[in-house]
Amino acid sequence: MLQDNLLSLFILVPAVATLGCFLIPAASPRLVKQLSVGASLLTAVLGVWLFASYDQAAAGYQFMQKIDWVPSLGISYQVGVDGISVAMVLLTCIVYLAGALVSCAVPKRQKDFFILLNALVAGVFGVFVSLDLFFFYFFYELAVVPMYLLIGYWGSANREYASMKLTLYLTAGAVVALFGLLGVYFSGITDTPTFDLVAIQAAVDAGGGLSENLQYFWFPFLLIGFAAIAPMWPLHTWSPGGHAAAPSAASMMHAGVLMKLGSYAIIRIAMPLMPEGAVMWLPLVAILCCFNILYGGLVALNQKDLKFVIGYSSSSHMGYVLLGVASLTTFGLTGAVFLMFAHGVMTALAFSLIGFFYDQTHTRMLDDLGGLMRKIPFVGVCFVMMAMASLGLPGFANFASELMVIVGSWERYPIPTMIALFGLVIGATYLLRAVRAVFLGDMDPKWEKLQDARTPFQRAPFLLLLGVLIFFGCFPWFMTDMIKTGVEPIISSLHVAEQNLIDLDAQKGM
């Protein structure tokens, strides 16, 4: 019983929490917090259970559930997970839990904040478990729009501009993707049009996919639409400003999970449905992601606001993910998904730590801060560890995953890979610069009154995130074996497609 409905629970628990928060009177914010943290705890337990009980030997989609929703439109509610989605669901659980804990410090209108946060999480879970294109899109949009109010109301400097830009950018990306999705839907892959991803996939695998020309035409719509949220250079401009303006939990959800929706959608929908299109277009991604890595990194070097440093570093790190996606190797793509996981946890940690002392200092300017290590050693140490993880120190999950990406893509794209390696050096520079500016050096006396994270309740989210990073850094195979089961079928279909294209070229040449 529970097995059959497990994945729906991931959507229902935060959805019910949304409804619950809605019904609780605004005068009792405590109850709202308890409910939300409870819900996040419950999903975390479910997430660990899902991770443990996914049968890696059998691979493929598991925990499937299908309900015909609107037969006349070919819409069915269908959920299921493979190795890739399991990793992403686990990531969401972790960030949700940490985010809910951190958000207990939200100063005003807690009820509304948690309503939006829970709704957003329901959307994110929905995207990661949906196997129906309609519901995929439904949840995708559901995950994007609450961010507008989260940033616009609870955010900091420049919040109105940043939130509007973010929402419009991501919605623009979404409608481009929708155009592509509908194009694929009506392209006659299946006899009667259906949004059922599994059915479409089966038809593609059986050799009924789109012709090369159509794939060449439709693939970019999905790629660009989803890459806007990934965010691929030059579509990244919404992201650093959005991160910087957002309140802690929103930044955490945002950089930790939302940005992964883009690469996830490319891996889940665009690549398997149009493998030839992927082979033709992904080299472009490999070039663009170099701009992500270099441009993001160099801009991060010159930022004065700590959140902007992390914001640009995120778009730089997403460059590695995209490089792994473009690599067309099992090793590289597994690394990319692993990096999505590791970066999600790392960046959530970064934003939660920044949020913690920003609530007290009300400034994030590197010039104003300094020497904070003396006053807030616990947060400081966590921040240093986060920076070490981010710059790729062995022992953290980021190291293992970045290494996999680089090794995996070396063969196909030697020059981008070298650029990516150089990007690691830049990363080390801006992160160490940030650590020095904030935590080392002389302290301004006005920070004398800073409070460290003392109670276990305050420390819990940081320890949780850090623990996950170290655990998967020391035992990466727990994660990579899982991800690999989902990656392998995609890569093998891409290899077939590549061979097809070579054969086609040969025929034309003759």
């Binding site: 609107v70 439109l73 509304d112 509007m164 929402t167 155009f179």
Partner: protein, 494 residues
């Protein structure tokens, strides 16, 4: 000559509405005009009860039939729209309650005119020939003229009434002139006859094309499509708010129902040639509505432009010309009903002291009444087409149908592309309203009290809007049935 029973089988609801209107006049006379509040309340309650009764009756006892009479028909399509119009009327009467105090007089006559308008609207969903079409349309339009100018003390209301009359008259002239051309070319006035004549022609003569174009444009007046959209902003702003709500939903739907009859039944297969015209109108209407809405500072004007933008979407679906697109229009109208009625009711509440619907009235609404703010959020996002609100499903269905049609008519890809761009534009201006609601400081810090009945109506709209976004199959099924009956109504010769 049709028997009375036959006529009643199609126009029973209309007779009910007419009888109810007469009853209200009589009751008003009997209860006396001396007292200020009493009779109006009695009349309003009677109207509400009567319309609810008819709505329930239509759901429980009325069944669609395939029979096509010379004077009209009660197919699933007509029934769907009759229910829709009754629901719209009910909402309009409900919206009048919190507004009524602002009327200087004629509080008892107001519901009578609303009922007569509803009678015309219901009639339009069944009509089978151009003459009854014109009669029904004029019944709707003339009653609405009066309703628009219902506040003689307010210059804007009078101005709105005059503008509405003039442009409405021009549109009616277009329509009649067009009908004359159609009659001249086909020798028939009933839809079946015209349709049969069109199909027997190898090519349409220029006169017929011209006539049909005039009819199309004349009906576009109701829908709010370019070029007869210009009345909308001024009239919406000037009319009493419940009337604006009635106009925005009911009057638009009246245009929709007639255009659909015309395009799907009368033109039939010949409609393919008209896809270009409809698509072009859709594109211009989308641009006009969406770009116009961006700069608005008055809520009612703003909703007017947003209504034009929605008309663009509906025209896109008409251009797609398939059963799926017809069904998507039917679905769309219902989601539009709930979102718009909620928005107008919020406007009535926030502007109750000043009688002015400037956008500043909603500034900081989240501080003054979180519930109203939430209602406006649901309504705006549903209009913008964002999940989990019903407007999303509606837009999705239209786009899906249009993309399907684009397989045969690639020009539609461009219009779909344009409409997608416009979705993003529309999200911008709807969010700008929400920006005021949530991020701005209120001008008046006082808590906004709302009555229990208002709250109940708003809650109903919210629940319907969210419910239809998730459990939309039942409504899709009945929309499909309506679309099927519309498409399946094969033209019959004389």
């Amino acid at each position: 000559m049709p028997s009375f029973a036959e006529i009643m089988s199609v126009y029973g609801l209309e007779f009910g509405l007419g009888a109810l209107a007469m009853l209200l006049i009589v009751v008003d006379l009997i209860t006396g005009r001396g007292r200020l509040t009493g009779p109006a309340d009695v009349v309003r309650l009677l109207a509400l009860g009567g319309v609810s009764g008819l709505l329930i009756y239509s759901f429980m006892f009325l069944h669609a039939s395939g029979e096509v009479h010379a004077f009209g028909q009660l197919d699933a399509f007509a029934l769907y729209f009759k229910r829709f119009f009754l629901a719209t009327t009910l909402f309009t009467l409900l919206l009048t309650a919190p507004y009524e105090a602002r009327f200087s007089g004629g509080r008892a006559e107001f519901p009578v005119l609303v009922l007569l308008t509803a009678m015309g609207m219901c009639m339009l969903s069944s009509v089978g020939d151009f003459v009854s079409l014109f009669v029904g349309l004029e019944l709707v339009t003339i009653s609405l003229f009066l309703l628009t100018a219902w506040r003689p003390g307010l210059p804007r209301s009078i101005e709105a009434g005059i503008k509405f009359v003039i442009i409405g008259a021009v549109a009616a002239a277009f329509l009649v002139y067009g009908i004359a051309f159609v009659y001249g070319a086909t020798g028939a006035l009933d839809f079946a006859g015209v349709s049969a004549a069109i199909q027997s022609m190898a090519t349409m003569p220029a006169g017929l094309k011209f006539g049909l174009l005039l009819v199309l444009v004349g009906l576009g007046f109701k829908l709010g499509a370019v070029p007869f959209h210009i009345w909308i902003p001024d009239v919406y702003q000037g009319a009493p708010t419940p009337v604006t709500a009635f106009l925005s939903v009911g009057s638009k739907a009246a245009g929709v129902v007639l255009l659909m009859r015309l395009v799907y039944t009368v033109l039939g297969p010949a409609a393919a040639e008209w896809a270009g015209v409809l698509g072009g109108l859709a594109a211009i209407t989308l641009l006009m509505g969406n770009l116009g809405a961006i700069t608005q500072t008055d809520l009612k004007r703003f909703l007017g432009y947003s209504g034009i933008a929605h008309a663009g979407f509906l025209l896109l679906a008409l251009a797609a010309h398939s059963e799926a697109s017809a069904s998507s229009i039917l679905f769309y109208m219902v989601t539009y009903l709930f979102a718009n009625m909620a928005a107008f009711l919020v406007i009535i509440v926030v502007s109750r002291t000043s009688d002015d619907s400037h956008m500043d009235r909603v500034n900081g609404l989240a501080e003054r009444s979180p519930f109203l703010a939430f209602v406006l959020l649901v309504s705006m996002l549903s209009l913008a087409g964002v999940p989990p609100f019903a407007g999303f499903v509606a837009k999705f269905m239209i786009l899906r149908a249009a993309m399907e049609a684009a397989l045969h008519n690639p020009a539609l890809y461009w219009i779909v592309g344009l409409s997608l761009v416009m979705v993003v534009v529309s999200l911008y201006y709807y969010l700008c309203v929400l920006k005021r609601v949530y991020f701005r400081e209120p001008e008046d810090k006082g808590v906004l009290e709302i009555s229990g009945s208002t709250k109940a109506i708003l809650l109903l709209c919210v629940i319907a809007t969210i419910g239809l976004a998730i459990f939309f199959n039942p409504l899709v099924e009945s929309a499909n049935a309506g679309a099927q009956s519309l498409m399946g109504a094969l033209p019959q010769g004389h």
